[in-house]
Symmetry: C2
């Protein structure tokens, strides 16, 4: 979307750097002096962020200098354009931060890891908290250390239009969703007649299409924390990071923060925020809207951050979202019932005390008032899958009640129920200020991880059904014309469909090689049997498969997998568990789950044997846009540009006025 | 792009049809009465096509009726809208076609095939040749057979704008190219600094992005013949078909034809046509512009059709393209030298006799005149790959000279050389009429088939480099503002990148399971080593990897594969041959090529053991558009809509005026 700037000094040094790849001393810091945010970071004008400086003294390994002491006398300046550089203390009018010390270890490669020989690094550091750059343009941050060695970072405050173009945004995230998966979901749920689809996915009808690049700042494969951070803050980060750049300290809460779109929309405009997910609600994609931690697994703290924002460092005020719906009751109910909560509090009580309606099932959700804030937690852990809620319903017994009483959670809403109620509440409460809703179909990703393709596609179709219903609801509420709807993903899985499988033929063949003859490619793939035959669960118009268990199924899958057995049939007994640990030592060693994929053939793994599930992939993911400001989202761009696009559309790019 | 019409009668019957999938009696004909073009076909106003009718009498199997005689007294009518139906003979003012008879066999499923029990079908048939529908709107074609049984086909002549919006079209086809592959190519060829790309692919900069659905008319996985037919004619067809619908007769040349965009642009406007491919030129993607056959392997006839058009049936006049560049000399040189040509002619002579310059190498290509038609055939079979022409050059010895003299073809052009020369010739010769150029990067597909990921990505990067150079050349010729540039694919392969591989670590591990520990995912994927380190072959600005053989390579691949051994290293000795036939019977049985992937680990196949290579996949493929009329190509649509979009942009939608 913009012409790249000249490459900074750190980039030139990168080329000469060590070849470490599987492990890195510290991402985004190839030299011994580190600035966070690093070179090439982009900012929204006025966006709050922290600065972290580090100076490294490697004690051993390929980078050892012979001096074990990290420099304590480093200096740091800021300048805009060609102006004179001034110290950060003067620039930001802050007191000098205290000097910090720590050390950390890392492995230079797998040989060093096998040999148990880590490299040790001593560190000196300072952090400048809650600063901002208000004027658009290029800035240079300069760290001088070790008697004159320099690390520079070129920062850009983007010069955006300041006119607000949309009142509301609904951002749908299909976690792990790729174009390949959308194509497969369309195939099983929509009918073709002689090669012409008689209906299309809701997202197929969006007028503007883009692709966003999902890679991390320091590795080309991302996780959902890191990628959500990019989408919400405009700053790419490191795997497992929520709303921070990763420093090298052990404390998961002291890493340098960047302000999210939810925080800015709340602070600058007072708009309402809604957060909906089918995951446990402390999971990365919802969490990244308000949490700031290097460790996405700090679930208790993340739930506290939804309500109270950042409490351990100076940061922007936060008064909680208007809507918070999802799973993950274990971070809410009383520790006496087994809850794993922040400071052993009961978070149902904490939310209720601040005026939230507390909802535990779909019945209560449907009756909830639209004029009050609402917390809806509908199960322990992740919510039940569409396929189990709608087709294989006895599997709902595998869910636990949000109360913590260990009964099953049989009355769970789906993504559509939660999203429509969220829109009702946000519409009623946001007034002239507008709202921002993030709604996540989390288990596309979770089911692709366990290679349960049918459940993953069911979740994707539920997302699509939710999008369709959202458009209708917004029209009913007379909000459609003032709402930008975006549908995107945070990363992919290497999934595709390559043909069909005659499961009846496969089941009766005697050898693994002969079973493979059941696979039909090209003209032998034939037509989808999911939408056209028998066992009608859903009728025309709703666009889910009418038959999830046809004789001819899809030949589908991922290249990255543990050892598994594939029969390409729907898993009727609940989400798939493809591999089990066969190790009798502490080191995991996964092999085919003997209970999984009976009648199928064994496919040996391509991942390290310690992995029990599939992994994320590199592919650009689609962005579908409809509504005011939609034209901002066409073409190919970085995941961070989704943030800048949304921020500009909401009128948050207010450079000169603040 | 348009609201689907109501489902025709054949669709309702389809739901009740037999469950055959791996094999079908006849695609697009689930009943015993068949109309081609079938129900739901769309047409450009005035587009020439043939009609084929068939009545089937199954003698045995699940559909047998007891009557072995196919009806000879069937009738066929046409009507538009609510007008009175009239016989096709009257409607098109044609003589009654002669009645044809034949029979064919098929297997109902794999069990029937294993048992050697085919189903036999007797057929009666008629064909109406070279008809057209001139008025936009809905038509109904009705076949009445077996004493009153009816098959209806609803046909739509699209109502398009008739104002020409672009003078020229350059259509780039990356054969088999997916978004996933583009992402991988960007990763290895373009540098990032702290998560920000410092340069982008040429196609990344196109302003309009679409997705097209590639499936066949009668199977959800397509081949390149079928998909090229959809892109060039607006009619989806069957695997192996070029410019025809597949009937059940044995003759590969009597199937009902549909007119291509090249034929219409030539007939209606007299515009110039260019055809460029890195494949042998009789291969499906170039062939489908002028050939009309049910069997894409009729290579000799296909080459004749480039020059002379369809000669065995009434059809539109055709005088040959202005430019035809590619490989495949064996369909040109004298049969005395081993040429496999149509009617044993020397096609270099045939083309020369019609005024073509004949070019055999890059030197001659560079010196070719721009004011004469040109045939450039640069090697036997497929052209050498970018990686072999530019990095591992000794492999050029694996190519054979286009002369047929069995010497190596060492002076081969690349896609860029051929495309730029084509643009020079087309620009010089087309005058006010404009030109249509199809330029195909064929070996993205060919190298993905043999799981040679590096060569496939090299071909993709060459395509991107060609796009960049094309834009520059069009600007130089002052043709850029009057030329629509499209970049798309004809289908995908299920490819993605999931992490990195420490090839040095993998090579020295002793067991296959331990070798898998060399794979790094998520944060351990690290940064691309292809653009940043050592062995510089290409410099900044050209955007190919500087090092194809780094220690840390990509963990990449396809789910659909024969038994193979993967070491994830570049194949320096030429294109990969992943599996070999270990059978000592006539039935093929492929297993790991013992010479391939040494130091790697074995990945067992997921395809039938008779397959020696990967297969196509389902995924929607991207469409990048730039230039006049670009806005026509955003969003999600069928592959056939690419034809209608291009035809409309060229002003070929001339309904009422003819």
């Amino acid at each position: 979307m913009k012409v790249p700037r000249s490459i900074g000094c750190t980039a030139l040094l990168l080329i000469a750097g060590v070849s470490a790849q599987t492990f890195q001393r510290l991402g985004t810091c190839p030299t011994l002096g580190c600035i966070f945010p690093p070179d090439q970071a982009d900012f929204l004008a006025g966006q709050h962020f922290d600065i972290r400086l580090e100076v490294h003294a490697p004690l051993n390994g390929s980078e050892a200098t012979g001096n074990p002491h990290a420099d304590e006398k480093f200096t740091f300046t800021i300048t805009k354009g060609k102006r004179k550089a001034v110290s950060a203390v003067d620039y930001f009018k802050l007191p000098e931060p205290k000097l910090e010390h720590w050390n950390f270890t890392w492995f230079e490669d797998l040989f060093a890891k096998d040999a148990g020989k880590p490299s040790v690094v001593n560190v000196t550091s300072k952090a400048y908290r809650k600063v901002a750059l208000h004027e658009p343009g290029e800035y240079t941050a300069t760290l001088t250390y070790n008697n004159g060695t320099i690390t520079k970072a070129s920062w850009l405050v983007r010069d955006l239009q300041e006119v607000r173009k949309t009142k509301n945004i609904v951002l749908f995230i299909g976690d792990g969703m790729t174009t390949n998966m959308i194509t497969a979901a369309r195939l099983i749920a929509h009918k073709t007649v002689n090669g012409k689809y008689q209906s299309l996915m809701a997202m197929d009808k969006f007028p503007v299409l883009g692709h966003q690049m999902t890679h991390s700042i320091d590795s080309f494969i991302t996780d959902s924390a890191n990628s959500a951070t990019a989408l919400y803050t405009g700053h790419k980060s490191t795997v497992n990071c929520l709303g921070v750049y990763a420093d090298s300290s052990k404390d998961p809460f002291d890493d340098p923060k960047v302000e999210t779109i939810a925080e800015m929309f709340h602070r600058l405009i007072g708009g309402s925020i809604g957060i909906v997910s089918t995951a446990f609600i402390a999971d990365a994609t919802p969490a990244a809207l308000t949490a700031h931690t290097r460790d996405r697994s700090q679930y208790g703290s993340i739930v506290d951050a939804f309500l109270n924002g950042v409490t351990n460092y100076t940061w922007t005020n936060w008064t909680g979202p208007d809507v918070l719906f999802g799973g993950g009751a274990e971070q809410f109910y009383d520790p006496k019932l087994g809850g794993k909560t922040y400071q052993n509090k009961n978070y149902y009580d904490e939310f209720a005390r601040k005026g939230y309606q507390v909802l535990w099932n779909n019945t209560a959700l449907s009756k909830a008032k639209s004029d009050s804030k609402a917390l809806g937690i509908f199960t322990v852990s992740n919510m039940a899958k569409w396929l189990d809620r709608n087709v294989y319903k006895t599997n709902l017994n595998q869910s636990l009640s949000p109360s913590g009483d260990t009964t099953p959670a049989l009355d769970q809403p789906g993504l559509k129920d939660m999203t429509l109620k969220a829109i009702d509440i946000l519409s009623a409460r946001s007034g002239d200020k507008g709202f921002f809703l993030m709604s996540e179909a989390a288990s596309i990703d979770k089911m692709m991880h366990v290679l349960d393709y049918d459940r993953a596609l069911g979740e994707l179709l539920e997302l699509d059904d939710t999008i369709k219903a959202t458009i209708e609801r917004l029209k009913t509420l007379n909000k459609f014309k003032e709402t930008l709807i975006l549908v995107t993903a945070d990363h992919g899985h290497g999934f595709d469909v390559m043909g069909s499988v005659d499961t009846k033929y496969m089941a009766v063949q005697k050898t693994d090689r002969k079973k493979r003859d059941a696979i039909g490619t090209y003209q032998n793939s034939g037509l989808s049997q999911y939408a056209n035959t028998g066992n009608l669960t859903y009728t025309e118009g709703v666009h889910f498969p009418s038959n999830w268990d046809p004789r001819y199924t899809l030949f589908q899958g991922l290249k990255a997998n543990p050892d598994i057995r594939e029969n390409f049939q729907v898993h009727k007994d609940g989400p798939r568990s493809p591999a089990v640990n066969i190790s009798n030592t502490s080191a995991a060693d996964y092999y085919v789950n003997p209970k999984d994929g009976k009648d199928g053939f064994v496919v040996n793994g391509t991942l390290p044997p310690s992995d029990d599930q599939g992994v994320h992939s590199l592919t650009d993911v689609p962005v579908f846009a409809m509504g005011p400001c939609q034209e901002r989202f066409g073409g190919v761009y970085s995941s961070t540009d989704v943030f800048f696009g949304m921020a500009e559309c909401l009128g948050l790019g207010r450079g000169r006025h603040h």
